[in-house]
């Protein structure tokens, strides 16, 4: 709760658009907006199972060679590799 209020001043963006080195906090999951081949329900479930929940701190550590895709994101203390397309479902600030 406090972390969300603190970040209200920062602009919200989808994690899929974040540049390397970005640090933020997850605000919400908008799975329907991502252009993934998965259903919104499935995408959101998988994201939560890997630790992408509201209030978790994220940092974009690395990006792939071709097209800056996929990205390696640290979520709290777990590092997850994900394509930018699926990462668009995670709104951070």
């Amino acid at each position: 709760m406090t972390s969300q209020q603190r970040n209200d001043a920062r602009p919200q963006l989808p994690l899929g658009s974040a540049a390397r080195g970005y640090r933020g906090v997850i605000q919400r999951i908008a799975a329907a907006d991502a252009g993934s081949a998965l259903s919104a329900h499935e995408l959101e479930s998988r994201l939560i199972e890997l630790g992408f929940v509201e209030g978790a701190r994220v940092e974009v550590l690395h990006e792939g060679v071709i097209g800056r895709d996929p990205i390696a994101v640290r979520v709290e203390n777990v590092t997850i590799a994900v394509r930018r397309r699926e990462a668009m479902a995670v709104i951070v600030a």
């Binding site: 199972e49 690395h62 071709i66 996929p70 590092t79 590799a81 994900v82």
Partner: protein
């Protein structure tokens, strides 16, 4: 007593399994699916016999893939033929508890007796992670033990607690309240897990930076790919070049053994059966062992170290474009040496559709066994000229054959992706990059040993029977007394070959080629010796030059080119087919591979022969 190991993919479950069961492991498939079933046994300090099942790693019981469905079903006791586990051990990486604690909360709902095992506890302590085990156990409502799988005696507490729990007969089981979790419930359990962790676990003031530092290099756009290329090159060299001497040693050993039989037994059926059927058959299985051992040594080392996930990360875009999974590159690369360890290596691909696709295209990668055939024909029929001033024509043709193999593999993958296997949900690329860890020699050794044993037991038996069958076809019926033609002319193989001539004439094959292709089904390089046999040239494949010379007088260039095109695609390897059958668990995919490769071979030969003929090479 039945125990099951559950955990997220990078929890060190396998090390724990190896530590508990040692080499007393059996690996098979769950009935009807390509999921591996790993079971082992051990004895507790109080003398209790325990059967331990290592279930596929998963982040939740939702069952998003066949592997995870197995984990879910075994834990819930839904799998027929599988005993319900008396105790479920949930294994966690102590430095990384967030996702596992959530899994524990989910597992609790199933009502099965549960115990949380905090593995890799030494690494956690070294990094400054403090765990209040008693409070954690209280908060979770589940017994908690620590373990260090890689250290001697590191599982002592686990064993002790297992005995304690087993002493309560019957072990209290609660109602199964588990249903697939809704999104709201998933969120709630993760929040609860985070809350429990905040209350009971102290994280170090300075987080460990080794992994980040190594990743800065390994995942660097330039350095990362260079390192990957280097590792792949070393692996390729190891399998291709370093395995060769051992394979040659084994091969000549078996030949010598065969020669011994030849010298000691009177000529006749028994001698032929033992020498050319049994010894040759067994030898053709054992000869694969060096390559398989080396491939799996590399794979297990890279996996335990944590590098495999990084390699998949680097390769994802490149492989994804061809419809392949990032993890397919090691199996496919291995297939350049031999498709058999390559196909066995597809176990690193979790997604079933991707694994199947990779298995289906692996045989198209130009394997080393094709080289003797290519060399025979190229050196005999392609002039040793330089074109464009500097390019060796023979080398160019060889390169072209390699390129055709790769291109066809990518093409078939594309076709499979878009036209077949459509009902399987695509797996998104969402992968945990675990912290780097030192691989442990003992665990890796057990892993390699288990794989080699699996190969011998599963594929070995099938390969051996196919070899005996081929020997039979090539040796019976025996030539009549006073026969002047080579003995093989009188065999079933020759009958089959001659019967196939009308089918093979359009692609330029004469009956001798047709007959040579039958024993040539045993392995690709056998075709060289088989052609020798058919044209009555002694010396087996050592006489390749001689055979080549003779062929130039008997075949047109068009026929030779047609045979080259045939060998790019044709499924001339009974061993590969046998391994495909074993790894996919059904005859169906083996038959499909055989059929599609045969079709491609015929089409390619047809086109090549007719084009070459039209251009005057007939």
């Amino acid at each position: 007593m039945h125990l099951a190991l559950v955990g997220t993919p990078n929890s060190g479950k396998t090390s724990l399994f190896n530590a508990l069961t040692g080499s007393r492991q059996k690996v098979a498939n769950y009935p009807g699916v390509t999921v591996e079933r790993k079971q082992g046994g051990f004895v507790t300090p109080l003398g209790r016999q325990v059967s331990l099942l290592d279930l596929p790693g998963t982040y939740s019981l939702r069952g998003r893939s066949p592997d995870e469905e197995i984990t879910r079903d075994v834990v819930l006791g839904r799998t027929s033929g599988e005993a319900v586990p008396d105790l479920v051990l949930c294994v966690a990486d102590s430095t990384n508890l967030r996702l596992t604690i959530r899994l524990v909360l989910e597992l609790k709902r199933t009502g099965r007796p549960l115990m949380l095992v905090l593995n890799m506890f030494d690494i956690a302590t070294r990094r400054g992670v403090t765990v209040d085990v008693a409070r954690l156990s209280e908060a979770l409502g589940v017994p908690v033990v620590t373990s260090i799988a890689v250290r001697k005696g590191g599982t002592a507490e686990l064993l002790r607690r297992t005995d304690e729990i087993a002493a309560q007969v019957p072990i209290p089981v609660q109602q199964n309240r588990w249903q697939p979790l809704t999104i709201a419930e998933l969120r709630a359990t993760q929040r609860e897990a985070d809350r429990i962790i905040a209350a009971t676990i102290g994280l170090p003031a300075k987080p460990d930076t080794w992994t980040a530092r190594i990743d800065a290099v390994v995942l660097h756009p330039v350095a990362g790919l260079a390192i990957l290329a280097l590792i792949l090159f070393v692996m390729f060299q190891a399998v291709f070049a370093w395995a060769q001497p051992v394979m040659n040693l084994l091969s000549s050993g078996f030949t010598a053994l065969g020669q011994l039989v030849h010298d000691t037994l009177p000529a006749g059926l028994l001698q032929s059966f033992l020498q050319n059927g049994v010894i040759s058959g067994v030898g053709s299985v054992i000869v694969f062992l060096p390559q398989i051992i080396i491939i799996f040594l590399f794979i297990l080392l890279l996996e335990d170290f944590g590098y495999m996930a990084r390699a998949a990360f680097l390769m994802d875009r490149i492989m994804g474009g061809a419809g392949l999974h990032g993890r397919a590159f090691i199996p496919l690369l291995s297939s350049f040496a031999c498709a058999i360890p390559g196909i066995m290596a597809t176990r690193v691909i979790d997604n079933r559709r991707d694994r199947l696709t990779t298995i289906l295209i692996a045989p198209l990668m130009t394997c080393s066994a094709r080289i003797p055939v290519y060399t025979l024909i190229i050196s005999a029929f392609i002039p040793a000229r330089l074109i464009w001033g500097w390019v060796n024509l023979q080398g160019l043709v060889m390169f072209g054959l390699y390129a055709a193999g790769i291109a066809s593999a990518l093409g078939v993958s594309f076709v499979i992706k878009f036209f077949m296997l459509r009902d399987y949900a695509p797996a998104p690329f969402m992968l945990e990059l675990p912290d780097y860890k030192m691989p442990r020699a003992g665990s890796v050794a057990i892993g390699v040993y288990t794989r080699a044993k699996m190969f011998l037991q599963r594929a070995g038996t099938t390969i051996f029977s196919m070899m005996v069958l081929i020997w039979f076809l090539a040796s019976f019926p025996l030539p009549p007394v006073g026969a002047t033609d080579p003995p093989i002319d009188y065999s079933f193989a020759a009958m089959i070959g001659k019967a196939l001539v009308p089918l093979l004439a359009p692609i330029g094959f004469n009956w001798q080629i047709a007959v040579a292709l039958i024993p040539g089904m045993a392995a690709r390089e056998v075709a060289v010796a088989a052609l020798g046999t058919v044209y009555a040239i002694e010396g087996g494949k050592e006489a390749a030059d001689q055979i080549g010379q003779m062929l130039t007088t008997k075949w047109s260039l068009a026929t030779a080119l047609s045979l080259l095109a045939w060998y790019i695609f044709a499924p001339q390897c009974a061993s590969t087919l046998a391994v495909i059958r074993r790894e996919t668990g059904s005859w169906k995919w083996m038959a499909i591979t055989f059929a599609y490769m045969l079709a491609l071979a015929y089409a390619a030969s047809l086109a090549t022969y007719n084009i070459a003929y039209a251009l005057g090479a007939g």
